[in-house]
């Protein structure tokens, strides 16, 4: 897969949807392409994160280890980004991510990502929009849960 294809992939991710092709190309060029075998760990819960992963091909499971042991909470497919929270604010990984099939991912190192945001403010806006959107969703979800509890 060449950079052109990676750029197409990035384009389908809402976070990057409105960003110039040239900038996406730069992001792809400066990121490392990693291959994982089925069962390989992308990152472990509670370790400090150094990069975000953009899945290009294959699937991965998100596993949260709680008091009751590990629990798979979600499955990610291609064109999804994972691990971005750890690089936006310095918090440990909130979950473990494991490749459930053979997987190709683009690894965006934290400093490149932040550098790009600093260099292209429009990318920062997109991230704000996307995060606000997610916050809105989470708040809505919380409201639903609280409403359910009240009943």
């Amino acid at each position: 897969m060449s950079i052109a294809e990676e750029v197409n992939c990035l384009r389908r991710i809402p976070l990057f949807a409105n960003i110039d092709t040239a900038k996406l190309k730069l992001l792809a060029f400066t990121s490392e392409r990693l291959s994982f075998r089925s069962g390989d760990i992308l990152f472990e819960q509670d370790e400090m994160g150094t990069c975000a992963y953009i899945l290009l091909r294959g699937e991965a499971e998100v596993i949260v280890t709680g008091p009751g042991g590990p629990l798979a909470v979600a499955t990610l497919g291609s064109n999804e980004i994972v691990g971005e929270i750890a690089i936006l604010c310095d918090v440990p990984r909130t979950a473990t991510v494991r490749a459930s099939t053979d997987l190709e991912a683009l690894c965006v190192p934290k400093d490149h990502f932040l550098q790009m945001v600093a260099d292209f403010p429009q990318m920062g806006l997109e991230i704000m929009r996307s995060l606000a959107h997610r916050l809105e969703q989470t708040t809505a979800r919380l409201r639903e849960v609280l409403a359910a509890q009240a009943v």
């Binding site: 052109a4 990676e6 040239a22 060029f29 400066t30 260099d119």
Partner: protein, 879 residues
């Protein structure tokens, strides 16, 4: 050391000075004759006024007489030239020897300085004194005696001549000399003072520059460059002012001298003339005196010049030497004497104090016994722990009180005892700029032990060097001899020592670091065929491992002569080897005629040019929007920020006119780019199967056509041969780590480590790693590695008493624990003094000394002291 330069000269070169003076005097008649002869040639031979009847018994006519005199003149010119040559060479050699002696003596003094002295004196001051400041003295030493004797003698002869002619005029001729003799030194004195000021100012500047270099990090961290610039500018201004004043005064002295010298003829003309007119003096006498006075001027001027030079050099000498006159210099015999006193029993401190002059004492009233066959912990609060440790290792000497070793005063033992039987390691040890090995065996180099063999010629050269050293009073030990004291390390030879070093390195947990250094080093297979052969074994084993386990096989792409390596650069693929020297370096390939010839022959030139064009387009597209100095340029771009406009220009032109119209240097610029392409990493979609096929063709052609004179410039990848230009790790892998494999580095590292262990290659690689150069002051090692190396250096010489002061502070906790227990084990039954920063660690020691503010608060066994109410208890519970 002699306090004045003349004492120094007389003491060390009186014989040479006499020879020099005699030679100068001997040259005088010839010089005089050569001045006199032209007169005779003109008056006698050419004018034919006083033709002699016969010359040395031969009868000569006028022409023959002329030729004889001219022949004589030529001979005299040659004789004078020969005298000058011999005398100057002699002077020069004398000056150099004396300079060498002076520098050596100053360096000896540096070695003898008491250690606290170095807190007041910086290298920035010491170095220019020994190197630059004494340099002019060499030139003066040859002239020191000969010039005043010779010129003074000449002057006296002339003065006597004038006095014989006419005592009154004679007196008139020298009448102003006493005045000059009184005035000039007075004027000179001020110049001398300024000279001293200048030297001091220059030293401070040297010191400041040294400080800036050492503290450069702080300068940048705190944005203080302007402050330093202002400071230096101010100091340079001071030097300028001093120098300018010196010039003014110096030239004024010269002016005054010239004036006074002309004043005397003024008297001759006026008074002498008056006397002649009145018939009281004959005209002939006046002319003779005037001529004689003219001759006086030259030696007198020389003498005055010499005087100024002498004053200049006298001050230089005194100013340097006074800095090296330190009252409490270590006795010379402490450094020189050979003795052997075994460390037995205990080191008894009796009322020992240590402090720097003027300051309050750091250590007071210390009375204790430190056993030399057991372990003593030093803990406490406040000052004095490290000083006590350094006193125990005899790095410092007590200011008062006494330390006794058996019957002997510890301070009076020569370093041949204390420097071999005791060892001290502090928190910031110093490593010398050499290989790690050299630093480890540093503690074993006390005396030359075995002469370096070599050819007869080499022995002859060595002998010559030694003779010369003796003549300059320098050391005569041969630096090229084998200085390593194997016996001190408990070994019987170099091989045994290597084994011992490996053990010690393991003891201080340095082996993994050295292993890493070894993996990244190259080995000359001709010098170490054994290593090369075993690395090749490891390469085969690596291959087998990867074939058997495809999961691992995916991590490394092996070099295959018939396959394009996607994880290597295009350049590496073409060369299929490692460049040796600059000829085939990646950046030079596009302008290398042979490479261009190969590309032409397989029809790749245009493709490479087009590929270069595409790379340039992509780079400009990707990076043109970034600000200058952005880190991406350095890390990712094929084109630096500064070159971008140039490439943009090329691209704009080719867009209109095509690639055909490019100038040669523009072609080269574009063609340089593709050589850096790594297919698997850069993913630009430029590496097509067709291009790869062509490149393989070029690879084969490159190797088969390579002219003999370029064969040394590349080390080919050959599955069967060791690559001398590549590191051990690259030789084992014989390929490239695959891009895009998660954690490929650590995974491959683990596989290599396993193989290395299976083949028992680890020790060999560690041994190669010992050749790693540590850099200036060990700067290429981390702080922890430096501490470990210093510990290893101390352990290697097996001291009777090992003194450690926070010597493991830079290590992480787990290595600290490992190293502590290894050292405690190694030193079982031997003397060990350890300054600990955690009181709890003292539990493992036989004795504990607890210090409080420079005094011993408690002293005894840990269990006895560890009860409520003691300082030890307080310290332990506070942890």
């Amino acid at each position: 050391m002699e306090s004045s330069i003349f004492r120094f000269i007389l003491r060390h070169s009186v014989r040479q000075q006499i020879v020099l003076t005699l030679m100068t005097l001997a040259s005088f008649p010839f010089l005089y004759a050569s001045l006199d002869l032209p007169k005779r040639i003109v008056n006698e031979a050419i004018a034919g006024k006083k033709l002699p009847e016969s010359f040395l018994g031969f009868h000569l006519d006028q022409v023959s007489y002329l030729f004889v005199l001219c022949g004589l003149f030529l001979t005299l010119v040659l004789v004078n030239g020969a005298f000058k040559y011999v005398i100057n060479t002699y002077k020069g050699r004398l000056g150099e020897r004396m300079l060498r002696r002076l520098r050596y003596e100053l360096y000896v003094r540096v070695l003898r300085f008491p250690l606290p002295r170095f807190r007041k004196m910086s290298p920035g001051e010491i170095i220019p004194m020994i190197t630059a400041e004494v340099e002019p003295l060499g030139g003066f030493i040859g002239d020191a005696i000969a010039i005043p004797v010779f010129q003074g003698g000449t002057l006296l002869v002339y003065i006597a001549f004038i006095f014989v002619q006419d005592p009154v005029l004679g007196a008139a001729a020298v009448s102003l000399y006493p005045f000059q003799g009184w005035l000039i030194p007075r004027l000179q004195r001020k110049v001398n003072q300024l000279g001293k000021q200048r030297v001091r100012a220059m030293r401070q500047i040297a010191d400041r520059i040294g400080e800036t270099v050492s503290g450069i990090q702080e300068v940048h961290t705190h944005n203080t460059a302007s402050w330093h610039l202002a400071d230096l500018s101010h100091r340079l201004g001071d030097v300028y002012r001093i120098r300018f004043e010196i010039y003014q005064r110096k030239f004024f002295v010269k002016f005054l001298n010239n004036f006074i010298n002309q004043l005397t003829p003024f008297f001759f003309y006026s008074i002498g003339g008056y006397l002649v007119i009145h018939g009281q003096l004959s005209f002939g006498a006046l002319v003779a005196v005037l001529a004689a006075y003219k001759d006086l001027a030259a030696p007198w001027k020389e003498l005055l010049d010499w005087y100024q030079q002498k004053e200049d050099n006298r001050i230089k000498y005194e100013q340097v030497v006074e800095q090296f006159h330190v009252p409490d210099l270590l006795a010379e015999r402490l450094l020189r004497e050979e003795e052997d006193v075994p460390f037995k029993g205990s080191l008894s401190f009796r009322n020992v104090a240590f402090g720097e002059d003027g300051g309050s004492p750091i250590l007071e009233g210390v009375t204790c016994d430190i056993p030399l066959d057991g372990h003593t912990a030093l803990i406490g609060v406040g000052s004095g722990r490290d000083e006590l440790a350094q006193l125990a290792a005899r790095v410092l000497l007590p200011s008062s009180g006494q330390i006794r070793l058996g019957e002997r005063d510890y301070a009076e033992l020569p370093e041949s005892v204390t420097g071999r039987r005791a060892a001290y390691v502090g928190a910031t040890p110093y490593l010398f700029s050499a290989s790690l090995y050299d630093n480890l065996v540093y503690g074993l180099r006390h005396r030359p032990l075995r002469e370096n063999g070599g050819s007869e010629e080499a022995a002859e050269r060595r002998k010559k060097r030694m003779t010369e050293s003796v003549l300059s009073g320098n050391a005569t030990d041969d630096v090229d001899a084998d200085w390593i004291d194997y016996a001190a390390a408990g070994c019987d030879g170099p091989e045994d020592l290597k084994t011992r070093i490996l053990r010690v390195v393991t003891m201080v947990s340095l082996q993994d670091d050295v292993y890493g250094m070894g993996l990244n080093r190259t080995v000359d297979p001709e010098r170490r065929p054994d290593v090369a052969a075993r690395v090749l074994e490891a390469r085969d084993a690596m291959r087998a491992t990867m074939l058997n386990n495809p999961d691992l096989g995916r991590l490394v792409e092996r070099f295959d002569p018939d396959r394009y390596a996607a994880n290597a650069t295009l350049a590496e693929n073409l060369l299929f080897g490692t460049p040796v020297g600059p000829i085939f370096q990646t950046d030079a390939l596009a302008s290398n005629p042979y490479m261009l010839h190969v590309l032409d022959k397989v029809g790749l030139t245009d493709t490479i040019l087009e590929t270069g064009h595409k790379v340039a387009e992509t780079m400009v597209e990707l990076f043109a929007g970034l600000p200058p100095g952005h880190e991406f340029f350095e890390r990712f771009s094929f084109i630096g920020f500064a070159e971008l406009p140039e490439y943009q220009g090329i691209l704009a032109r080719t867009a209109k006119e095509g690639l055909g119209t490019l100038r040669p240097e523009e072609r080269t610029r574009l063609m340089t780019l593709p050589f850096k392409l790594i297919g698997a990493r850069h993913r630009l979609g430029l590496m097509t199967p067709d291009l790869e096929k062509k490149l393989l063709e070029a690879r084969h052609l490159f190797a088969s056509d390579l002219p003999a004179d370029l064969k040394h410039a590349v080390a080919f990848f050959d599955p069967e041969a060791y690559n001398a230009a590549a590191s051990i790790q690259d030789n084992i892998l014989f390929g490239k780590m695959v891009y895009g494999q998660a954690q490929v580095q650590s995974k491959v590292g683990r596989i290599v480590a396993e193989l290395v262990d299976q083949l028992h290659l680890r020790d060999t690689i560690v041994e190669v790693g010992l050749d790693h150069p540590v850099g200036v002051a060990g700067s290429r090692l981390s702080a922890a590695q430096r501490q470990k190396a210093a510990l290893a250096r101390a352990l290697l010489k097996r001291p009777d008493l090992l003194v450690l002061s926070e010597a493991t502070s830079g290590l992480d906790t787990s290595s600290q624990t490992k190293v502590h227990s290894a050292i405690m084990g190694e030193r079982k039954g031997c003397g060990l003094v350890w300054v600990l920063h955690r009181a709890g660690l003292a539990r493992a020691f036989e004795r504990v000394i607890v210090m409080k503010d420079g005094r011993i608060a408690e002293h005894g066994r840990f269990d006895e002291l560890n009860r409520p109410g003691t300082l030890l208890h307080e310290l332990v519970t506070a942890e």
